[in-house]
Symmetry: C2
Subunit: 332 residues, 2 copies
């Protein structure tokens, strides 16, 4: 039913291999016959089977992508950029979301392997340590996003990220700066917390453990976290949130308490998702260069896929984007 290379060969009166060569633009074929064959193939509605080709060449031109959930805008923007980068190089993305289920994290990687993807990019905050042996086996090669402690990774410098935020807030006169983490993103959250502590110390402020909270992640985590923190006797004047989602949730909690942002409370996020300029007030945040992250990850993955490894990990420096959600500390 589907037309194969053999059908085209018969129709064109040439051999299988000639058709194969003509269709893959191998230079050895006489230009004239190549054109003729290509025309015939097109006329017959021939569509090459990537499956068969994959079997024969042991290359699928597919990149596996393992993520926690596409519902997170940071992730989906990242994947979006990866797809863009992949397409430019003739690759497609095989997607696998594992929703935080540790069972499925492993299953996901195995699944991608079975599909014989040429490489996989993992953008899941919860990579279990069991991954390590699989990753080091290099079959398929794996590159991780925002996991700087793993071998092949491209990551934003989380310490710098929270430092930028803290410095900004300190410069605005804030003294009681809280941190709302995300248990969904344990390791990253821990790094950002470190950066927060370090730069607080550097500014001569002691990190009050009352002001550090581990939210559950997402909008809800931010909302609950902020609700709790703002109800304390000595509430913070500024909130450093794990990410923009958390920050948005926190702003909601603040609004519910009747606090005005940034007059009564400053809020800063991390990521700079495309929504950030559109919150009200617009969100001050520390931007991760998602496109660069994506491109580097794809490039690295393909490099490994072509056996040209190992490659050094890359660390990107985030940048502060000041918008309307931060302001001078209330004088009261």
């Amino acid at each position: 039913m589907t037309v194969t290379i053999a059908d085209v060969a018969r129709e064109a009166g040439v051999s299988l291999s000639t058709v194969s060569r003509a269709l893959s633009d191998k230079p050895v074929i006489k230009a004239q016959t190549r054109l003729r064959i290509q025309r015939i193939a097109a006329d017959m509605g021939y569509s090459p089977s990537a499956i068969a080709r994959g079997l024969a060449t042991k290359r699928t031109h597919k990149l596996g992508v393992l993520v926690l959930s596409l519902a997170d805008p940071f992730v989906s923007e990242l994947v979006s950029h990866m797809d863009q980068a992949a397409i430019e190089r003739g690759y497609s993305l095989l997607l696998c979301t594992c929703g935080g289920d540790p069972q499925r994290e492993m299953a996901g990687l195995e699944l991608l392997h079975q599909q014989r993807v040429d490489a996989v990019v993992v953008a899941d905050p919860a990579v279990p340590d069991k991954f390590l042996p699989l990753i080091q086996a290099g079959e398929p090669p794996v590159v991780l996003i925002n996991k700087r402690h793993y071998p092949c990774s491209v990551a934003t410098d989380n310490l710098v990220a929270s430092s930028l935020a803290v410095q900004h807030l300190v410069a605005l006169g804030h003294r009681r700066i809280a941190f709302i983490g995300s248990s969904r993103n344990r390791t990253e959250s821990a790094e950002r917390l470190d950066g927060y502590r370090l730069s607080l110390e550097k500014a001569g402020l002691s990190a009050d453990s009352q002001l550090v909270l581990d939210g559950e992640g997402g909008y809800g985590g931010g909302e609950q976290g902020a609700r709790f923190l703002l109800a304390q006797p000595c509430a913070p004047t500024a909130l450093l949130c794990f990410d923009d989602l958390t920050a948005i949730g926190a702003m909601r909690a603040a609004a519910a308490r009747g606090l005005r942002i940034p007059d009564d409370l400053s809020v800063v996020g991390v990521d700079d998702i495309s929504l950030a300029p559109y919150t009200s007030p617009p969100l001050t945040t520390v931007a991760q260069d998602k496109e660069q992250l994506a491109r580097l990850a794809v490039t690295m993955a393909l490099t490994l896929a072509h056996g040209k490894g190992p490659v050094p990990g890359q660390i990107l420096t985030p940048s502060l984007v000041v918008r309307g959600s931060t302001g001078p500390a209330p004088s009261a």
Copy 2:
């Protein structure tokens, strides 16, 4: 290097087919030998090649997904649900974003076909009409999301969607209700506009063409649209926006003009993305049942993939979710 079924067979002292059967849990194998083989396979680190299996069975257990862009939360939430539904049925998603480039829309479909996906789900607002022949060819079978005029589609009823919104606004006393469309989503926008006009008439209000605007889509489209509408001499008291993104952009423009929502201006969106409850004020919107949309699409796609077609299109009824962005029309 990679261990194949033949290696396992040799190691286990049985034939290829026995291993194949044991590994795919075919009932005919003696339980004991099956277990033995499975153990040996596992020990050897055997990982079945989906590629080879695909060639042999002509089923890849892969679903192609064609979208405009994952950067749109509605889309990414949809894809997220589709992945969930697919996994439950033993399928994976092959993703293809085509960023509105009509060239790539066709290329994308062809690409997915070459990968021999069992079926494809298109959630791209801009399906060019050239698709139709390809779609009807049924190779691979295609199901469309939110394209009710196409053969196999699962769609939210856009007329009902905007009617619900308009009725809600009219009930609140609004008379000057504007509509901000999205040129990025031409056909859907047109349907929602129809619903808007119809229900306006039904309410005895004439649709003022001054109040209908075709935004460019996304946050920016909403912002620009609202900026323009609100600057008019006889500005609207309520805005029906193409989607939540547009609504969020519109709210920003309103804030920039110093308008208070919902006191001075009511805003309603469509989609009910997960962000909607977290805007300030929380967004009143018409919810599409994204999970249902996704599940039906996947189910329909798989049904077609198994040759059990054709299937009837499905229309889902949206529902109004009243939050804080709408209120009584200003009495002034």
